[in-house]
Subunit: 135 residues, 4 copies
């Protein structure tokens, strides 16, 4: 487990886009991953909310890690779907992804994204997708 | 039409995340939008391909603009789905989104994302989603 | 609540396709719905598993009812996505849908579909979708 | 090609649910499939439109056949997403699915569903999904 978290952390650290956007892999287990991001102005869209593209990045990547951990190695998100539930307003976002099933050739994961604002924690997006082993 | 493109360009320019990630709104019509992005190293994942989160941002935002133009004003992507077809390798990405239907309360859009590499142009992602008027 | 369940049951009973396919609305709450179906040979595909179209009907309709109950009236599924996790084998299927958020113009729901076989109960599909008030 | 259409027709004919619901495989190519269904009262929901579950069955199955033909053999829809664009009203439905990419382990397909009513032909649903070879 510690080895898998170390492996996941190393993969995460080697993703230039995750560094650029400022995301963190804050936790993982044998079938789940938690990403977080401290919201900055450059993450926003024209109305001052976090841009959907930031949320979709978090969903995509949290799903990749949850699925990869469940599959046991390097993996890719093959597809996912996201619904935005409310405007993402807050100082920090947390994305929790969980593999709901995993076989030899794919894992199916769900992801919840919360916006934290002071003591409030609101669900702002739900995603679901497929992860496959890297070829 | 010119007015709508000017409006769309102004909205796009006011999206901090679109500026941060380096995207451009290169064309639009009454029901479509084309975004592009010159690939830089910080857009990549651990294997050297463009990160799925960059593609999902392009899909989300191209769909927002195509749907907003079809609906005639400020709009939000409510949900979308994306399939990654092949690794996105190249110097530039182009996302073409088109509204396939538009009513009073929503527009349904599809988006194709191409990776350009020298003279090659490969379809690397397909997306489909729903756009609603901004409240 | 009783009134809402009576309303939901009445709507369900007035769906010819639900009668034709043999589904039942077995439970509901203010934001959830449970559908069930006793598997018969005519529900199957070429390998002897329940056809994906039966599962997608259950997901679509369970989501409609969960969302409609959360929205408080007649409603339609605007879109949904389904992942099939394993072949649906068993004597009975149960679809549990829950609204995860509901506003004035839409509810977002998730749905789990289980196959029951003797004492075994296996998750065989996950779905997520959007419900809107009937115009 | 003829062989593949014969193979697809044989698989289709061996799907009890497709027979039960009354669908037909009307055409196929090396990467596409067309299904059709003559609308009967038992296909409808409470407002008199074709039930979403019928449309989702058509999308699921047209995608399976388009993807299976592109992959060259027995195949399963692993996941798909559908957006309903307008109420499906008419005497006949036609679902056209096309593989947009196909590799060794999956094909990605899109599907358009039209409702035919007299001389009118209206797009009423769009779907997109993933097909994998049968294990």
């Amino acid at each position: 487990m510690n080895d898998m978290h170390a492996f996941a952390s190393q993969v995460f650290a080697s993703q230039p886009f995750s560094q650029f956007i400022g995301a963190e892999l804050v936790a993982s287990s044998s079938d789940s991953a938690e990403l977080a991001l401290t919201v900055q102005d450059h993450h926003k869209q024209q109305h001052g909310f976090v841009h959907g593209g930031v949320l979709s990045y978090l969903a995509d990547n949290a799903i990749t890690f949850a699925g990869g951990l469940a599959l046991g190695g390097n993996a890719l998100t093959a597809e996912f779907k996201i619904n935005y539930l409310r405007p993402a307003i807050g100082s920090r976002l947390v994305a929790l992804a969980q593999a709901r099933s995993a076989g030899k050739r794919m894992a199916i994961c769900q992801c919840e994204i919360y916006a934290l604002d002071g003591e409030s924690r609101k669900l702002c997006a739900l995603a679901q997708g497929t992860v496959v082993p890297a070829a």
